[in-house]
């Protein structure tokens, strides 16, 4: 085989690999969309390309069984959790990244440790706390419990981000007599926006997808978040699983996420790797 032929083989093998990666990544979601557009018995026929375009399943989901209520719950819970975590994390990260004090490294590792917690280990204790506070079966139970994974993560990423900001800006502010609070709100906040968007988005996705706490701390259908609603979506009878509406609901809650992720691609990748590799 001459050189150009070998190159050609190598190149086509490479593009074949690329094609496989793309198909495997996208196909399940594509198939969910395809299934959600079928109605009646068409759903039991395997198709590889879309032939039916019926929105009946979407209508079923939107009109029945508190689905919209679940979406609203999820948005409220995830939104509140993110705001809460960001507020606590910005001030804490300033202290962790800019002020030298004893035990700082230990504190950072402890925070990281909390984010790696098996959530089941706190479930019993949190259940008691949630009952004690009287917030069982309310969105507040989720807002409280989601802090356990959103807060360590936001603190961690914002701390690594702030460490990289030039120290000169802060020194100039100190010379001008600015207090730490003023430094955070007036000097750091404008620089922090990109990092805040990234961490906020990742925390939002985490809260939006959470299942264990949401399943355990809610009992009535009206209080459920989207993942619980989809997991427990049932048909007229026990045996009959309503695949069409389940796929429609799945597509409805996934499309906004996919759109967000594709828009903020670069930021998300930066945020994910800052939490992992650089840390």
């Amino acid at each position: 085989m001459n050189r150009s032929a070998a190159d050609w083989v190598r190149l086509s093998a490479f593009y074949a690999l690329v094609a496989i990666i793309i198909v495997v990544s996208i196909f399940p979601f594509y198939y969910a969309i395809l299934t959600s557009l079928k109605s009646g018995t068409a759903i039991f026929r395997v198709d590889y390309i879309p032939v039916d375009f019926s929105f009946k399943n979407y209508a079923t989901v939107m009109t029945g069984r508190n689905f919209i209520r679940s979406v609203v719950n999820s948005v409220l819970v995830a939104g509140t959790t993110v705001l809460f975590a960001l507020f606590l994390a910005v001030t804490a990260s300033y202290a962790l990244s800019r002020v030298r004090f004893r035990g700082r490294a230990l504190l950072l590792v402890t925070i990281l440790g909390v984010s790696m917690f098996p959530q089941i280990a706190v479930l019993a204790g949190l259940f008691e706390l949630v009952r004690f506070l009287g917030i069982y079966n309310t969105p507040w139970a989720m807002v409280l419990s989601y802090t356990i994974f959103t807060l360590p993560f936001t603190v961690w990423v914002l701390t690594t981000f702030m460490r990289d900001l030039p120290i000169e800006i802060e020194e100039a502010a100190i010379i001008d007599g600015a207090t730490p609070w003023v430094i955070i709100t007036k000097v750091f906040m404008p620089l922090l926006w990109p990092a805040l968007v990234t961490t906020g988005l990742l925390a939002f996705i985490g809260a939006w997808n959470e299942f264990l706490f949401a399943l355990t701390f809610t009992i009535s259908e009206t209080q459920r978040t989207v993942p619980v609603a989809i997991a427990l979506l049932s048909g007229a009878s026990e045996q009959e699983i309503p695949w069409g509406p389940i796929m429609a609901a799945s597509v409805i809650v996934t499309i906004p996420l996919v759109v967000l992720v594709l828009i903020f691609q670069r930021k998300i990748v930066a945020g994910l790797t800052a939490g992992g590799v650089k840390g």
């Binding site: 804490a92 399943l215 990748v269 790797t273």
Partner: protein, 322 residues
Amino acid sequence: MANRNNSRPIGRELDLEAQRRRAAFLFLAPMIIALFCVAAWPLLRTIYFSFTNTSLTDLYGGEWIGFDNYLRRRELSSGRVVWRGTLADPAWWNAVWNTVRFSVISVFFETVLGLIVALVLNAEFKGRGWVRAAILIPWAIPTIVSAKMWAWMLNDQFGIINDIFIKLGLIERGIAWTASIDTAMTAVLVVDIWKTTPFMALLCLAGLQMIPRDIYEAARIDGVHPVKVFWKITLPLVRPALMVAVIFRMLDALRIFDLIYVLTPNSKATKTMSVISRENLIDFDKFAYGSAQSTLLFAIIAVFVSLYIWLGRVNLSGEGNR
């Protein structure tokens, strides 16, 4: 810093430092209190519950029973000795085995496939942005949704996976992937690997991009074979990033709950420690027993993390390299 010190009285400088430190503690306090309330306190309570006979309906009515939830020796009237408690419970050890098997296999495949995808993304080619966008989709899909999507694709009668396999002549009759004891674990592994490989790939890619390009250039000029370049240059240099990524994934895999709860409910072949703990805690009203199991899971993970950090000398705080 030094020349600024000269130009200003020492006393004021110390004052400023003290003021900064005071402010730091004030800033840290809310976060520490919040984490104490949602992490440390509930954990301590879970551990406490595991030594009592508390029930779900009467959280404050439990009595201290020592290690009975873990292991208890009981002598029957016939004189035979039986052991009770989690540590003598075959269902628990089945869950431990399932969890370990799931974690090791899934993390292994995710690391290998993630590295391959990362190497592809690290190459310069047209349409790279599209590939990166495509692999972000499995990551962005909620776990519950991907579990449902795959449950449908793996359906025994109408699933597309069986259809593909039958058309390719690999199988004759549809397989009940999620329901059958033999294939349930495979199904869970496939879905988890599908969903999490992108995350691994992105972490690996970040590690790969930190390798200076001129090293490859030098290797190419010296005529080193690409395979050798991978084993001798790429892998050693990407190892630190890979170590951190593997520990993150491993910890995540050890606590898996949602995917298994939805994809293969009540299957003995896939029930993990988290699943069995929650089942006892909430569904079976064996609150204290479930607490003991979740305490054990916590202990296992804590030991694993300490060992890993100690053996791998992983610098997690990121302070040293600055």
